[in-house]
Symmetry: C2
Subunit: 254 residues, 2 copies
């Protein structure tokens, strides 16, 4: 008899081309799939019991998965991108951590399978903007105060990181990306390359290469990741359109 | 007749379990493989011409790949991890950018396939330390002045990012990781969780979960990625050993 367990699986940003063999195997071997509905829809049909939920209830989803596993089931929590990056893996550990014991959740074996995350997909399509030091910041202020976001943006700009912005916009958060661009314009050159990668890897993917001066927040939606270059990031004209890269060398070093 | 092209492929950090279907296909379809010897050794035997090189000559490798492609060959540049993160993709664009034209390199079609990068693999094994805002910094001062590294570390600590350190140590750079820990100890709590992920995904993988106070630079080598938690990162005892995660929620927000 096999004990129950939770595996947190990332589908990657697009189709099956970026789904790792490890994640594909874990999905096929799971008895229960727990996740946001549109992610579950991307898992090939099979005998697994599917527990689809809304996007807003990560902790409920995590608790359900742990409870099923505590009852002996092999559960896969299905996440987009990399479950470890702004996604379900942290929610599962939060649910574990909140237990004082007694429910059995604390004893569940949890494993995380890494996946390609949105900034990697957008970076690959655009060239190599993440070739030098970078950071990733979620613009969602559902889970942190906006002044923390602003402060991080300013320090990241001062440190001259390439900056990837996750969750740039949603129906409930329409102004944050514009405010982030404004904060960055105060410190970074207007000609700094900016990439908007929307739904990269899916049929409706759209890649936009622009500048910080021209970047339009209205061009981003919930499926978009934004990458803002450092002072060293360069745009190159090429046969397939503009490409953006950040050299490995920085300043006068070397 | 198909035109030549360069595809920059990432093998991921470990075995074939983390090699994406896209990258596997590109490797199989390539006529020439260009890369650091140990990476080429991980590509299954096939009819491809193999151009193995030393680790230090990224730009030579990139030029070779572009020249082969300009001559009509389908070339895969083979990188570990994600070629877009501190790896060969930026080197290929640097080689393109350096050409004033005339050699034909500028007209070569270049495509990048994303891969799982070392910090994602180490994070997955350790729990979910990258669940909140984070940054990635290469400690190599071959390509940038050390004072830039130090300044970034200080600003990243001030911004309270989770910090992933790439290239923490090499034979020629024995003291940098210790200096980085010292810089972080000056600002961050001694109990801050630190993860050392060595060769994650390979048979000799080793995961160490410790604290900033106790972190030993001598425990890291060239195959190690180091992840230093933020002020919110937590360590949990679990059946399989300590697990580290960073909650999605920050401060008093939400």
């Amino acid at each position: 008899m096999s004990a129950g367990r939770v595996v947190v699986v990332g589908l990657g940003p697009g189709g099956s081309d970026w789904l790792t063999p490890e994640s594909a195997r874990e999905l096929a071997e799971a008895e229960d799939l727990v996740g946001y509905g549109p992610y579950l829809d991307r898992v090939p049909a099979g005998p697994q019991v599917r527990h689809a939920s809304d996007n807003r209830v990560e902790l409920d989803r995590a608790r359900l998965a742990l409870d099923l596993a505590a009852g002996g089931r092999r559960v896969a929590v299905v996440s987009g991108g990399d479950p470890g990056v702004f996604a379900m893996a942290a929610a599962v550990y939060e649910a574990l951590d909140a237990e004082a014991g007694g429910t059995g959740r604390r004893d569940v074996e949890v494993r995380v399978c890494p996946g390609i995350t949105a900034m990697q997909a957008a970076a690959a399509r655009a060239g190599a903007p993440l070739g030098h030091d970078f950071c990733a910041i979620s613009l969602s202020d559902n889970l942190k105060p906006w002044d923390v976001v602003l402060r991080r943006l300013r320090l990241a700009a001062e440190a001259d990181f390439v900056i990837a912005l996750y969750n740039p916009v949603s129906r409930a958060r329409p102004w944050q990306l514009g405010a982030a661009f404004d904060a960055l314009r105060a410190v970074r050159d207007p000609a700094t390359p900016v990439i908007l990668g929307r739904a990269i890897g899916r049929p409706d993917e759209r890649l936009t290469v622009t500048t910080l001066a021209a970047a339009d927040p209205a061009a981003a939606d919930m499926s978009t990741v934004v990458i803002v270059g450092s002072s060293h990031t360069r745009t190159l004209a090429g046969p397939g359109g503009a490409r953006v890269y950040t050299p490995r060398r920085y300043g006068t070093g070397g």
